[in-house]
């Protein structure tokens, strides 16, 4: 990744969300706490979800991570708040698929597209998908 690519990508959405992450606090009373942890780099976020029936009433997160993981977790919180479970799983799935397949076609949302492009960050895909994967795995497991 060249420096201007770096700047371009960080500029658009990442730095903004890194500085002002959405719902960045520890909600100790949450119904569900999911840990998203990367042992190789030490990034660790807790995702705090409050449910109402099968809907997510509120989604908060807190922890330590790079700008990419923080911004992408922040985006995840924005997106899932108010959603029901199936929608959430679908969202994560669509997103992770885009990461995997290299296609962002199925992603409608402009913001999501930016994140899907992040896989071009050499060696940083793990950062971007950290919380999405953790949430997806948890949801899938609960289903089974």
């Amino acid at each position: 990744m060249k420096k201007d690519e770096f700047k371009k990508l960080y500029n658009q959405e990442v730095l903004k969300r890194n500085k002002k992450p959405y719902n960045f606090d520890a909600d100790e009373e949450a119904d569900v706490v999911i840990e998203a942890y990367n042992p190789l780099c030490g990034d660790k976020f807790n995702l705090y979800l409050n449910k109402e029936d099968s809907d997510i009433k509120s989604a908060h997160f807190h922890g330590f991570g790079c700008a990419l993981s923080k911004a992408s977790t922040s985006l995840l919180m924005e997106l899932i708040e108010g959603r029901n479970k199936t929608e959430k799983v679908e969202k994560c799935h669509t997103y992770l698929e885009a990461e995997d397949s290299g296609s962002s076609k199925r992603l409608q949302n402009e913001v999501q597209k930016v994140f899907a492009e992040m896989k071009n960050f050499e060696g940083r895909v793990d950062c971007v998908t950290l919380s999405w994967k953790a949430l997806y795995d948890k949801m899938k497991n609960d289903e089974d």
Partner: protein, 401 residues
């Protein structure tokens, strides 16, 4: 050190590369590349009991490397040297094939909090399995081993002391001679993790008197997939096999098996012949070097780097200025995560490592969740520090815009 860089082909295809990740792996020297390519194309054969020429030659060369490594460590007995996959495997061998059967519940093993996972987790797992205590020696705030505290940890129940020669995060050069004496005074054998030191520092066994020593070829300008274990002749007879298979058997029937003796009982399976010969070439290269000059070169780079970094606002450098520091400097930058730093540096052609560097206990101890590591080698140059510092400064500007 001027012409040294020409010996490393990677810089021909990447002339602007500023490679500061030498603690992870060094670049390969031309001599090693040449040998590997020539072996692969012209001399390829496996060893032992091939009575045709290619195989007999490969066998002879393979065994010559054993002597060469022994000589490199100041031993005149080639059979003190076993070939492994790397430092990690060498340490596991000692844990599993030597010390395990000597442990009784209530015994202890002493390590330090600055160990790489390779010299921490095997001992921890062994202690758990055998009902023993893992004693973790602490550091001074400067990042040196607290030698007084260390002395108190080692006692008659200590069955092994496993210490790193150089911390792969702090760069601390430990006073291993003194630590070995402390351990020996209590009758405990000592394993030295020499992964970071073997390339440049004198690790002569007749001076240092360690019992086990481990290092990896890929950190001394050699190939991946090969490591060394040195075992004191006193303990050679106690070394059991690790992985079981062909090449280490004395005799096997349906009911019985007997093994060859150390070091040949560690060569299970077809060995990495090319890798071992590549290690031989790497040692030839090291023997050509003025190692004292290399050490002062890398120390000077690291020291200047510390000074320059310290001038940048918001930088925390791990370890102090009082400790003995090798060519390694780790730091954290206020508000900018190490991965963001290293991605940005990459944009300027600078290769550094970010994360926990396989040293979680040390990071917990230092209360740093993650760091950026700069590690110098013989082909690095002063102006690379300027570029590094400029890049960090420009990142800060970009970040705070």
């Amino acid at each position: 050190m001027k012409n040294i860089k020409d010996r490393f082909p990677i810089f021909k295809s990447h002339p602007d590369l500023i490679y500061l990740d030498n603690a992870a792996t060094t670049q390969r020297v031309d001599k090693v590349d040449d040998l590997l390519d020539e072996f692969n194309r012209k001399d390829n054969a496996t060893i032992h009991r091939g009575v045709y020429e290619l195989s007999a030659k490969a066998t002879a060369r393979y065994e010559q490397v054993r002597s060469k490594v022994a000589g490199f460590l100041g031993s005149d007995n080639p059979n003190t040297i076993a070939f492994t996959k790397g430092t990690t495997e060498s340490i596991n061998v000692v844990a599993h094939s030597f010390i395990k059967k000597r442990l009784r519940a209530g015994d202890n093993i002493v390590v330090t909090v600055m160990e790489h996972h390779a010299n921490f987790v095997p001992w921890q797992a062994l202690c758990k399995e055998m009902g023993c205590e893992l004693r973790v020696a602490s550091l001074t705030p400067e990042g040196s081993i607290d030698t007084l505290a260390f002395e108190r940890l080692v006692d008659k129940k200590t069955k092994m002391v496993a210490i790193t020669h150089i911390s792969n995060v702090l760069g601390t050069i430990n006073p291993i001679e003194q630590l070995i004496e402390t351990a020996h005074a209590q009758g405990a054998p000592v394993l030295v993790d020499a992964a970071q030191g073997a390339a440049l520092y004198d690790l002569d066994v007749t001076k240092l008197n360690y019992d086990f020593l481990a290092f990896s070829a890929h950190k001394l300008f050699g190939p991946f997939g090969v490591g060394i274990l040195y075992v004191n002749p006193e303990y050679m007879g106690d070394m059991q096999p690790y992985t079981l298979g062909g090449g280490i058997i004395q005799s096997v029937s349906a009911n019985e098996v007997t093994f060859q003796s150390y070091p040949f009982n560690l060569d299970a399976g077809t060995p990495n012949v090319s890798g071992v010969l590549g290690l031989g070439a790497a040692i030839d290269f090291l023997n050509e070097l003025n190692r004292a000059e290399c050490i002062s070169h890398t120390h000077e780079l690291a020291n200047r780097c510390v000074v320059e970094l310290a001038r940048v606002k918001g930088i925390r450098i791990l370890g102090g200025t009082q400790m003995q520091r090798s060519g390694i400097v780790s730091f954290a930058l206020e508000n900018i995560h190490p991965h963001d730093v290293s991605s940005y540096l990459n944009g300027d052609g600078i290769a550094v490592r970010a994360g926990l560097h396989c040293a979680q206990p040390l990071h917990y101890f230092m209360k740093e969740p993650s760091t950026i590591r700069i590690s110098f080698s013989i082909y690095n140059a002063d102006n690379e520090i300027d570029i590094l510092i400029d890049s960090i400064k420009s990142l800060k500007k970009f970040w705070e815009q």
